[in-house]
């Protein structure tokens, strides 16, 4: 099978509109959580989230940088974030000027967990109040999940595989894993892969609130709300943004002298076959997903230096993931660090796996692992595991494991290593 490497990165997160700003703020232990500004959430289950900041903010996002004005008006924010992150990644890889022959072998695999929820909500209200003749003609293709891949392929002329994963919070990891396989199987030479989300709108907060998934108890200080593994955690904090990587066949990347960030070595997938929202009580799906990724990678468990956990800050999920990691790694966990960057940027749902894979790659580049914020009192099961509380930690990082688990009992794990 052909080897697959990462040669470009792009990020839009609540802590920055690009890779370096987001990473610098993650390492500086900043939190992207604050009171919701998009709408008045006072009477909702929770009134805080990790929003991508407005352009006038110190690390705000300027949609106009890479997305045409007309497209911005027609599509939901998750597509705008996705187009921008994809643009960053392809620019970073130096692949904006590929020949037609190259572009025939270059594709997109950029998904989302939910898609255009804010637009579905607002256009439904238009339908209700003004009737069918006032619904936007761009309503459908401005909300569809595969329209990041669609828009990006049109913008850059990418005529290879055009794919979009929809596996809830595992989307970003599945997107990268699937795309890596397309390159390994010789369906493409270059793939833009990742995920995006923007569902911080009334129906999104109400829906996740009603599912009892959100943190609700930290209105006084939202920066303390996302606290994976801490005894006082009470649910996830909704985030938004996008992460996209450029995946490239190794020999091709080497031949053109590309900057190679990491190699995708292992990809594991599994289903819990248990419950729509609750994880399997023994973490069996998570265990099998990690196990498959490790087996494919050819690495030993002791070679994994850093695990970016799914760790959403929910009472049940964090414990079960930790249990599954312990069961798989055994004593090999003694030399690894494991943290949840959701403590800083919240849960980016369909974007999470891609954004967190990029953090894993940057941890290898800079030999430093990002912290788990707010881990003041680790729950009992955490004893003996280095969860990198509060502060980033400099250490050897040569190989990493990233976990993502989603509603429906869908699990994905990626193993990457420095080349």
């Amino acid at each position: 099978m052909r080897r697959v490497v990462v040669t470009g990165l792009g990020l839009v997160t609540p802590l920055g509109a690009d890779v370096e700003t987001s990473w610098k703020n993650i390492i500086a232990a900043k939190s992207g959580a604050a009171t919701i500004t998009r709408f008045d959430a006072t009477d909702f289950h929770t009134n805080y989230a990790c929003e991508v900041k407005a352009p006038d903010h110190e690390y705000g996002f300027d949609a106009g940088k890479r997305v045409d004005h007309k497209i911005q008006r027609q599509v939901d924010p998750f597509i705008v974030f996705g187009i921008d992150a994809a643009g960053q990644a392809i620019e970073d890889a130096g692949l904006t000027d590929m020949t037609e022959e190259e572009r025939l072998r270059a594709g997109c695999s950029i998904g989302s967990g939910i898609g255009g929820l804010p637009g579905i909500e607002s256009e439904s209200l238009v339908l209700e109040h003004k009737g069918p003749k006032r619904v936007s003609p761009h309503f459908v293709h401005g909300r569809l999940i595969n329209l990041i891949s669609g828009q990006v392929s049109i913008k850059y002329g990418l005529m290879g595989p055009n794919h979009a994963v929809v596996t809830a919070c595992s989307t970003g990891a599945h997107s990268i894993g699937d795309a890596a396989r397309m390159i390994a199987m010789d369906d493409a030479d270059v793939m833009l892969a990742g995920g995006a989300e923007s569902a911080i709108c009334p129906i999104g907060i109400a829906g996740f609130g009603q599912a009892r998934a959100l943190s609700t108890g930290f209105r006084d200080d939202p920066t303390r709300a996302s606290r994976p593994y801490d005894v006082d955690r009470d649910g996830f904090v909704m985030g938004e943004g996008a992460g996209v990587v450029v995946l490239e066949e190794y020999e091709r990347a080497k031949a053109r002298g590309a900057k190679i960030y990491a190699e995708v070595l292992g990809y594991g997938l599994s289903g819990d076959a248990y419950h729509v929202t609750a994880p399997h009580p023994e973490g069996s799906g998570a265990f099998r997903s990690m196990q498959m990724a490790m087996k494919k990678s050819g690495l030993t468990l002791a070679e994994i230096d850093y695990i970016n956990a799914h760790g959403t800050s929910t009472p049940l999920g964090d414990e079960l993931e930790l249990g599954a990691v312990r069961k798989l790694f055994g004593s090999a966990l003694d030399t690894a660090s494991m943290s949840s960057t959701k403590s800083a940027i919240g849960h980016l749902l369909g974007g999470a796996g891609a954004v967190e894979s990029i953090f894993c790659i940057l941890a290898m580049r800079d030999q430093i692992v990002p912290p788990t914020l707010n881990l003041d009192n680790p729950s009992e099961n955490c004893a003996g595991v280095d969860l990198v509380p509060h502060k980033a930690k400099e250490r050897k990082v040569k190989a990493v494991l990233n976990n993502s688990f989603g509603f429906g009992g869908t699990n994905a794990s990626l193993v990457m290593a420095a080349v």
Binding site: D68, H69, K70, R73, K133, R134, S136, P137, H138
Partner: protein
């Protein structure tokens, strides 16, 4: 503001073009980069702004900025 100024503003905002490019003779599709769905959206915006109804068969005949202004001026209450 005159009908022409209001139309110019709507077209500029919806299509992301400079107001100076929105001349009376400009064709929505050939000169201003619109596609057929953009025209549907523009017609909706004109209906909202001016309180007129523009049926599909009339909308099909509106291809330039001037066509739009003329139709609105002739049909406005």
């Amino acid at each position: 503001m005159s009908t022409a100024d209001r139309v110019t503003k709507i077209v500029s905002e919806h299509l992301g073009v400079q107001e100076s490019d929105v001349t009376p003779e400009a064709s929505f599709i050939d000169d201003l980069g619109a596609d057929s769905l953009d025209i549907v959206e523009l017609v909706m915006a004109f209906e909202e702004e001016f309180g007129v109804e523009i049926p599909d068969d009339a909308a099909e005949k509106i291809t330039t900025v001037k066509d739009a202004i003329t139709y609105i001026d002739e049909h406005q209450g």
